[in-house]
């Protein structure tokens, strides 16, 4: 059992994070990341930076050079998986807006960067302003789609995605249509659009191609099509070897098939040392499956540190604690705060799971109904719904939800899928 991570440093960091909304620990991996981010501003090593700086130098009172720099940095962040580079991009956009407050490029970049930093309300506000002025700009509807989807405004998100694809059917809009279709449980429709997005991506934009293929792979994984998922994720990795997010999903698929050594080896292939919260959790889960309890605890501890170093998104941490029946009060606190500001199905799901763990079953049922409202093909939500129904004594509903979860993807989670199967067996 995972119990060894009560750490005063974490509590302090967590408090600071809640108080200041963005402070971070300065653990070694993150200082290394910061150093890596600084290096992307080296004009000698990066012609993109050099070109932008030259433009800034030539036209110091114009936003153009700063915009060019920001775009280059955003693309670099995506390509390398080092999202801390987006801080530099944000600084460049701030300079652009200082030079020319009305500059449309800077304003669009400003709005889109809010999404990256999970400031969805701000993204929605800025996107809405832009839409009033530029109602024919597909980019703006992309910002609005993402912001509304993250905030749980699904009807608005669906309308925005439609407006975006009607204005400009391309890789960016197809990907958003795919995401909305996936949320609304239209798996074949989502697959169709992710394929279209991958096919229409610029072959020179390796990251975008890899992202589309990765998203397709994740869509296949969601419904348990593991072979198809692995094939397209391999394709993603063949285009961008070392692509961190794809390595994680590849590892998850290997682990779900019991190939733990390969799964660990794949995670070890992350040469950039930019392991994410999710990859620490996966390492912990693999160690648990292998009976390496001490290693699992250490990995979960690293996951906590990573989560607390992030700007914003703490709901994976709440799920982690709830899954492992530890620090449930703090988990519920995170989930409630999250749900108070974001009404998306995943916030509702996390809240339901934390409430369930606190044995507040009726409230959990209310929350999980919110999570199920789009009929999303998500085995984890269905599993949570089943466990809540079971706790409430509603055996028929529990059986149906748990059967649906396992039918959707019997390998949906390395540890929890087994719990779901045991619960279903106990209901027969």
């Amino acid at each position: 059992m995972w119990t060894a991570f009560s750490n005063i440093l974490i509590i302090v960091s967590y408090s600071l994070l809640l108080s200041f909304g963005g402070a971070c620990s300065t653990t070694e991996p993150y200082s290394r990341i910061a150093t890596a981010a600084e290096s992307v501003l080296n004009p000698e090593a990066d012609p993109g930076v050099a070109s932008a700086l030259k433009l800034i130098e030539t036209m110091p009172d114009s936003a153009a050079g700063y915009n060019q720099l920001a775009i280059h940095l955003i693309k670099t962040a995506r390509r390398t998986g080092d999202f801390s580079i987006n801080k530099k991009a944000e600084a460049a956009v701030a300079k652009a807006l200082e030079k020319a407050p009305g500059d449309i490029t800077a304003r669009k970049l400003h709005a889109s960067l809010q999404l990256t930093f999970h400031r969805f309300d701000k993204a929605l506000e800025l996107g809405t302003q832009l839409k009033k002025e530029f109602p024919k700009d597909a980019f703006v509807y992309g910002v609005l789609t993402d912001a509304n989807a993250e905030l749980g405004n699904y009807d608005e998100a669906r309308a925005n995605a439609q407006q975006m694809v009607d204005l400009r059917p391309d890789s960016s809009s197809y990907a958003r249509v795919a995401h909305i279709r996936s949320l609304f449980g239209d798996h074949p429709g989502a697959v169709e659009m992710y394929i279209a997005a991958a096919r229409t991506t610029d072959p020179a934009d390796k990251e975008a191609q890899s992202w589309c293929l990765l998203s397709l792979g994740k869509e296949y994984f969601k419904v348990g099509k593991l072979d198809l998922a692995e094939n397209v994720i391999d394709e993603s990795l063949s285009i961008s070897p070392g692509y961190q997010l794809a390595l994680l999903e590849k590892s998850r698929i290997r682990a779900s098939q019991g190939d733990y050594d390969a799964a660990i080896m794949i995670l070890d292939n992350d040469k950039n040392g930019l392991l994410t919260l999710q990859s620490y959790i996966l390492r912990g889960d693999i160690a648990s499956k292998q009976g390496r309890t001490g290693d699992a605890d250490a990995e979960y501890h690293r996951a906590e540190e990573a989560a607390l170093s992030l700007d914003g998104d703490l709901h994976p941490l709440a799920l982690l604690w709830a899954d492992h029946d530890v620090r449930l009060d703090e988990a519920l606190d995170i989930a409630e705060k999250d749900f108070a500001s974001i009404k998306d199905i995943y916030a509702a799901d996390t809240l339901s799971w934390c409430l369930y763990k606190k044995e507040r079953y009726l409230e959990a049922e209310t929350a999980v109904k919110q999570a199920l409202r789009l009929k999303t093909n998500d085995a984890k939500i269905l599993y949570h719904a089943g466990m809540i129904a079971k706790a409430l004594g509603n055996k028929k509903a529990a059986r149906e939800y748990l059967q649906s979860a396992i039918k959707t993807n019997p390998k949906f989670d390395l540890l929890q899928a087994e719990v779901a199967e045991n619960a279903l067996r106990s209901l027969r």
Partner: protein, 484 residues
């Protein structure tokens, strides 16, 4: 090290310092990986549009329209190479009334076949002897066929199919697979049309020559006629070329009586469209996602933040979009030229540029009584304007600077492949033309990018004029300075 260089480096580091300082908190951003918003659609990306009176012997009664797509293709980009996208609708459009709406459209649709799907090779494989010796050869493993339809959206005429089942040539893969490329595959891919014209669709050499230092804050090796580097040397492009009788394009359906006749000027632009989809499921309408009329407008006149929106617009509404009008009346490039070279430029609003790009040049004292490219209903519509009443200049006598070189058959009267658009555009934006006499002085009227011809060789003297594509199986030569 020059003082100027030291100053540049110091300024560069100052800018760098600002950014590092403002973002010094080593906070790790979240791993939220939203779908890309800054993306390109290369297969639906127009690169250049050309429109000129045919210069091939015996073809004086025709106009050649060329639309290039899919930029900067590496000739060695196998095994798929660069094919037309079956899901894109490629179109060349003509406005002959001045309202910005297309009166005639030539619509190209492609279909890819696969001869043998059980091969890791793509466009070619060994189904017979491994050599693609003609367009129907079975070793051409992924042939594309296409159709061309002529539409007349503003008339009651029904769409007319000009050709179906025409084949595109494969890429110029290499001496072993595609020997004698032009004789075996390139020229046979030129088809005759029922209206007496011709059509071609396939890879060609990217003839457009430019030193892309232009886009690096005008960081040019030379601002004269030579000394630059042709950045597009040895790259290929995908070309749609169609030759049609003059009278098929004019508003009267006749050959204009003179260069100043009311039906003499046509507007030309090319587009690419994809089908939208319903989020709820199914395909819906075609939506334009790329557009190109005048050269370099989308690249250097329209601001970055407006490019995507501009690409979706019809020229019919250009004049109603204040940002588009402002971008032409007060282009950022002009201010950049001023900052980099310390030259005086004409103050905004730049009505000289509006005439070139938006309305056409009316008859005036500078160009004389027989020259005009004016075609407008009173508002600006950005597209090429070709006066089909002006006779073409023989190939040997063409001037790369078009009108600025005294050659009335060149840009901005349509655009020939031969025209040195970069030099012309730099001079026009700097006000180095007779239309802005106060600034028609050196260096404004001598500006250039240092590249004044295509180093791969002169154009063909026959349709489709563009040179065969560069061969894939050869070492990629480094770009070398072009000879003066």
């Amino acid at each position: 090290m020059t003082t100027q260089l030291i100053k540049q480096i110091a300024l560069g580091f100052a800018a760098l310092a600002i950014l590092v300082t403002t973002s010094a908190i080593p906070s790790l951003a979240s791993s939220h990986a939203e779908a890309p918003l800054i993306s390109m659609d290369r297969f639906a990306d127009n690169t250049d549009t050309y429109a000129f009176r045919s210069v091939e012997a015996g073809r004086e009664g025709f106009v050649t329209l060329i639309a290039n797509y899919i930029p900067l293709q590496e000739p060695s980009g196998g095994p798929q190479w660069f094919r037309w996208d079956d899901s894109v609708m490629y179109e060349i459009k003509i406005d002959n009334t001045g309202d910005g709406k297309e009166d005639i459209t030539y619509q190209f649709r492609f279909q890819t076949q696969i001869v043998n799907g059980n091969t890791v090779l793509g466009q070619s494989t060994v189904n017979q002897d491994g050599v693609i010796s003609n367009l129907a050869d079975l070793d051409y493993n992924m042939p594309q066929t296409y159709s061309v339809t002529r539409l007349a959206p503003t008339s009651t005429k029904r769409p007319r199919s000009l050709i179906t089942g025409a084949r595109t040539p494969p890429a110029n893969i290499g001496q072993r697979v595609t020997p004698n490329y032009e004789a075996n595959l390139g020229q046979p891919a030129v088809y005759d049309l029922p209206n007496g014209g011709k059509v071609f669709a396939g890879n060609r050499d990217e003839y457009f020559y430019i030193d892309l230092g232009v886009f690096d804050a005008l960081n040019l090796r030379s601002i004269g006629a030579s000394g630059g580097i042709d950045s597009t040397k040895n790259y290929n492009v995908s070309t749609l070329a169609i030759e049609v009788p003059i009278q098929e394009l004019t508003r009267t359906g006749a050959i204009p009586a003179s260069s100043t006749a009311s039906d003499a000027v046509i507007g030309v632009w090319a587009t690419a469209s994809r089908q939208s989809v319903s989020v709820a499921g199914g395909n819906t309408e075609w939506r334009q996602i790329s557009r190109l009329g005048n050269p370099l407008v989308n690249e250097v006149v329209i601001p970055l933040g407006l490019k995507d929106a501009f690409n979706t617009l019809s020229p019919a509404v250009d004049g109603t979009i204040p940002q588009v009008v402002q971008a032409i009346q007060d282009p950022e490039l002009a201010r950049l030229l001023q900052a980099v070279y310390g030259i005086s430029i004409p103050p905004p609003p730049r009505n000289d540029l509006v005439q070139i790009f938006g309305t056409g040049i009316p008859v005036n004292s500078v160009t004389g009584p027989n020259y005009t490219t004016f075609l407008s209903d009173g508002t600006a519509h950005e597209y090429l304007r070709l006066n089909v009443g002006i006779a073409p200049t023989a190939i040997a006598s063409q001037n790369r600077l078009g009108l600025l070189g005294g050659d009335f058959a060149g840009f901005p009267n349509g655009r020939r492949v031969f025209d040195d658009i970069t030099d012309i555009a730099l001079r026009a934006v700097a006000g180095g033309t007779p239309f802005t006499p106060a600034t028609n002085i050196a260096p404004n009227n001598t500006l250039g990018d240092g590249v004044s011809f295509n180093p791969e060789g002169p154009l063909l003297t026959r349709f489709p004029y563009l040179l065969p594509p560069n061969q894939g199986n050869q070492p990629r030569p480094s770009s070398t300075p072009t000879a003066p």
